[in-house]
Amino acid sequence: MAGRRRVKVLLLQMVVLGFLLVVTVPARAQDVGQIKVSKGTVSIERAGQRLPAGVGVKVQPADVVRTGPDGSVGILFADASLLSAGPNSVLAIDKFVFDSTTNQGAFESTLQKGTLSAVSGKIAKQSPDAMKVRTPVAVLGVRGTEFVVRAMGPGD
């Protein structure tokens, strides 16, 4: 009986340790931005998991950021680009590469639905068209600027 319990505890510890490794180790590896504003329901989908996205949470390439009907979110990226989304929005970070020495890189994201405000940073300043924002029906090429986008999702 006691042996069985010990095995159970050991298994639980392994699961917890495994979970911590999965969640924390890659989290530092390729952080490209940080959530600075988070109101209402905001989550990040990463590798099939849904994580709460409060202030201070790091953003990585391939993350999908979602806001609920009461939600809004503001993200500051490594090149000083800003993206912020209003309620009922789905924003995918498709690609973010940035060399802080040369300011060269590429930043591509997709507003699948909802509202987005964007302020471009060093990537777009260094190379025009290196920053792109997609919607389900259009591609925006950013030449160093501020803009807003609304995309209607299939369910709207």
Binding site: Q34, I35, K36, V37, K39, V55, G56, S72, V73, G74, I75, L76, A80, L82, S84, A85, G86, P87, S89, G114, T115, L116, S117, V119, S120, D129, T135, P136, V137, A138, V139, L140, G141, V142, R143, G144, T145, E146, F147, V148, V149, R150, A151, M152, D156
Partner: protein, 210 residues
């Protein structure tokens, strides 16, 4: 009887006649809001950049303040100018969620020392205030020297300057793991000089707050 029937029919006709021209229910206002919408905004410094909008193989350039491209459900693209009211109505929540933009500061030091000049001690208070108003602030402090002294000595001094400022921040309650420091020695002068020239503007730390 027949006369009555005729009156009845006439009455019905009148009723129908009246009902017909009654105004149809207002067209659903949801229609225009189904469009995708892109609006170029002026930058904070008042200038306006440019944005290309590509849809169905056609590229349009937006390059004037509040220039808009509307992509209708039918796939047409209509360009125009959005009103500030419409921008606020549609994008108010997204705009309100914009984080504060990164800012940077320069602090200057006394010659050969890691002590701030009196003027820069005042600026340091502004830096504290800026950090305090930011959600989840990240701070990078890079120290520099002028070209008086050896390169290794200046590498050391530049790092000491950056660390001195970091310690001040930590004393004021800013989390140490939010602060990165580096020393660049005399390699990146703000004002290029010959070696061994004392230049107060090169004895500095650059602080980025984001």
């Amino acid at each position: 009887m027949t006369a009555r029937a005729v009156v009845g029919i006439l009455g019905l006709l009148v009723l129908f006649g009246c009902a017909r021209p009654a105004p149809p229910p207002p067209a659903p206002v949801a229609k225009p809001t189904r469009d995708d919408l892109v609006v170029l905004l002026p930058d904070q410094d008042g200038k306006t950049g440019a944005l290309t909008v590509t849809h169905g193989g056609t590229e349009r350039v937006l390059d004037t303040p509040r220039a808009s491209a509307r992509i209708t459900e039918e796939g047409r693209v209509e360009t125009g100018t959005a009103t500030p009211e419409e921008i606020q109505r549609v994008f108010g929540d997204a705009l309100a969620a914009q984080p504060p933009r990164p800012v940077s500061f320069l602090l200057y030091f006394l010659e050969g020392k890691a002590d701030l000049t009196p003027e820069s001690q005042v600026v340091l208070q502004q830096v504290f205030a800026e950090i305090a108003r930011r959600p989840s602030p990240e701070i990078v402090i890079i120290g520099h020297t002028d070209r008086v002294g050896t390169v290794p000595d200046n590498d050391r001094l530049s790092l000491q300057r950056a660390e001195k400022v970091r310690d001040d921040f930590v004393k004021r309650g800013i989390a140490a793991d939010q602060i990165q420091v580096a020393g660049r020695g005399e390699r990146e002068p703000l004002v290029p000089t010959d070696d061994e020239v004392a230049e107060p503007r090169n004895r500095r730390v650059e602080i980025s707050v984001r």
